[in-house]
């Protein structure tokens, strides 16, 4: 579903590398060429991307949990099928993002182990609970909407496999976003109880969604290197503002109120939001969000309960290879 702007680029270590290669590399980036897996790249570029792509992959997979929470309770068969297909899409995004990360030299197993050990991050938004059906609408509308805002520029990321993965991911996300909005529209045209459910959901998700774009530019230290490498093309605050400007009219159309009494439209037509509670953001990142422990526990349980299945598949593959070798020798 989403990569969070948590990613801080590694400090540039060109001094330790061949200066000529580094200059050539930067020239290719400046010329908007794509870097491919077998090309030379600075170690810090590789490390930054491995971290960003794997965080993105982890977010897709952990992101299956809050929405998966409603698959068995979706209110109609059509909604049930659509939600299941959506969560399946997120899983697919996770798979090809892990594959993109693997092109940088780390295996899926290593990356997943780091996440399960709590050493790798995933998007903070998935540490909030889905309490009502309206949350499924809100996640599609706002969480996927924010993800698209962040990911569209990543389609032009300098690293080829990541950029190509993002093109497909963005197409699917934009479908999810429309689907989420349509759920909200149905609720807002429904009974008073349904409208209240939609408003309550927006109230709970609005601020955490704004936090998805990461810390304010003033406090974000390492964006420069990512920008120079054309991994990041817009700042956190720029993307956040774009998202707010796009979302406010959508909320108005639904007849919902953005839970920010201080929000104003400025002379340039931008919707200016109030101060975000960054203390809450820090707490969620530190593991103290409402669902951090549940999400990690669910992923660890799936991994541990599935260990015997993965071992069986490996053992069977080994036996089969052995039999084939024996047959060939006869």
């Amino acid at each position: 579903m989403y990569t969070q702007a948590l990613n801080t680029a590694e400090t540039d270590d060109r001094g330790l590398e061949d200066a000529a290669k580094a200059a050539q590399f930067q020239a290719r980036i400046d010329a908007e060429e794509r870097i491919e897996p077998n090309d030379w790249m600075p170690a810090a570029y590789r490390k930054t991307l491995t971290r960003q792509i794997s965080q993105h992959a982890h977010s897709e997979v952990v992101g299956m949990l809050p929405e998966g929470n409603w698959i068995t309770r979706a209110p109609t068969l059509r909604r049930k099928a659509a939600l299941l297909a959506k969560v399946q899409d997120e899983c697919g995004h996770g798979l090809y993002l892990y594959a993109a990360a693997e092109t940088l030299g780390s295996s899926r197993e290593e990356l997943v182990d780091a996440m399960l050990a709590g050493k790798a991050k995933y998007s903070s938004i998935f540490n909030y609970p889905t309490l009502t059906w309206a949350d499924i609408g809100t996640i599609g509308w706002l969480v996927d909407g924010a993800a698209i805002m962040n990911q569209i520029p990543l389609c032009r990321c300098s690293y080829g496999p990541y950029a190509r993965a993002m093109i497909r991911v963005c197409k699917e996300e934009s479908f999810h976003q429309r689907q989420g909005y349509e759920i909200m529209l149905t609720l807002c045209r429904g009974s008073d109880e349904q409208k209240a459910m939609a408003q309550d959901s927006l109230n709970r998700w609005w601020w955490p969604v704004l936090m998805m774009f990461g810390p304010p530019d003033a406090t974000s230290q390492h964006s420069d290197t990512s920008t120079k490498w054309k991994i990041k093309r817009f700042s956190n605050d720029e993307l956040r503002q774009k998202f707010v400007d796009a979302t406010v009219p959508q909320a108005q159309y639904l007849g919902l109120t953005i839970p920010d009494p201080g929000m104003k439209r400025d002379a340039d037509g931008h919707w200016r939001y109030s101060e975000i509670d960054w203390a809450e953001f820090k707490q969620v990142l530190a593991g103290n969000g409402p669902c951090n422990r549940d999400r990690m526990a669910a992923r660890r349980k799936a991994h541990e309960d599935g260990a015997w299945v993965r071992e069986a598949a490996a053992a069977y593959a080994a036996k089969r290879a052995q039999r084939q070798t024996a047959q060939a020798a006869e």
């Binding site: 399946q88 798979l95 349904q194 309960d305 299945v309 053992a315």
Partner: protein, 258 residues
Amino acid sequence: MATANIEVSETPLVLYALRRADDALILGHRLSEWCGHAPMLEEDMALSNIALDLIGQARELYSYAAKVEGKDNDEDKLAYLRDVRQYRNLLLVEQPNGDFAQTLVRQFLYSAFADLYWRAMTASRDATLAAIAAKSEKESAYHLRHASEWLIRLGDGTDESHARAQAAIDHLWAFTGEMFAVDDGERALIHAGIAIDPGTLRGRWLQTVSGVIGEATLVLPQNDWMQQGGRSGRHSEHLGHLLSELQSMQRTFPGLTW
């Protein structure tokens, strides 16, 4: 009260479609419970895919049942507003997921049947059922292949996976007999060429099942006592819990559009 169960006029053809729709929905629902929790991402994808096929089949069959009945019911009323005693699915498909072996064996036993069943049903004189069968047959063939390959891997994998797969077969075997049973109403449909007699598929089903189980180095259970009751609404205790989750929104907020 709007949350009350609906009434369904179960003529033989309505009942026929409901039974198959319930099989598909309940099994699809069970598989969907894995989404986000499977042993590997590839299986999160695969099990969700199979669940989607089955939910799709259920929707078509419910819509057809509603159309044949010709009253105020629709796919959602049929799925969300009937209670345990009105559900007509096989006992096999409502059995809990258990471990991955139990889920795969349940799928294997059912898909080995569904594959033959829907292929035969493509010859139905009822054009809608024949069309549903044509789609379901293609899907079931893939489901069977997926489950067979896994059963072989588990049976011939490690000692642990072998033991788990065998335990799952031993546990679920008693629910397989019901797939081949037919009551009087359905017999009339068979005579009319609308349905086919599942009893005629038993030999081929057993052949497929024993073949895969043998290749998996597993064995068929000796016990041939078969449980019955799902088709007439006498279910295991598991179904009520599944339905209370499945139906919770429609029961809590009756009569709304979602």
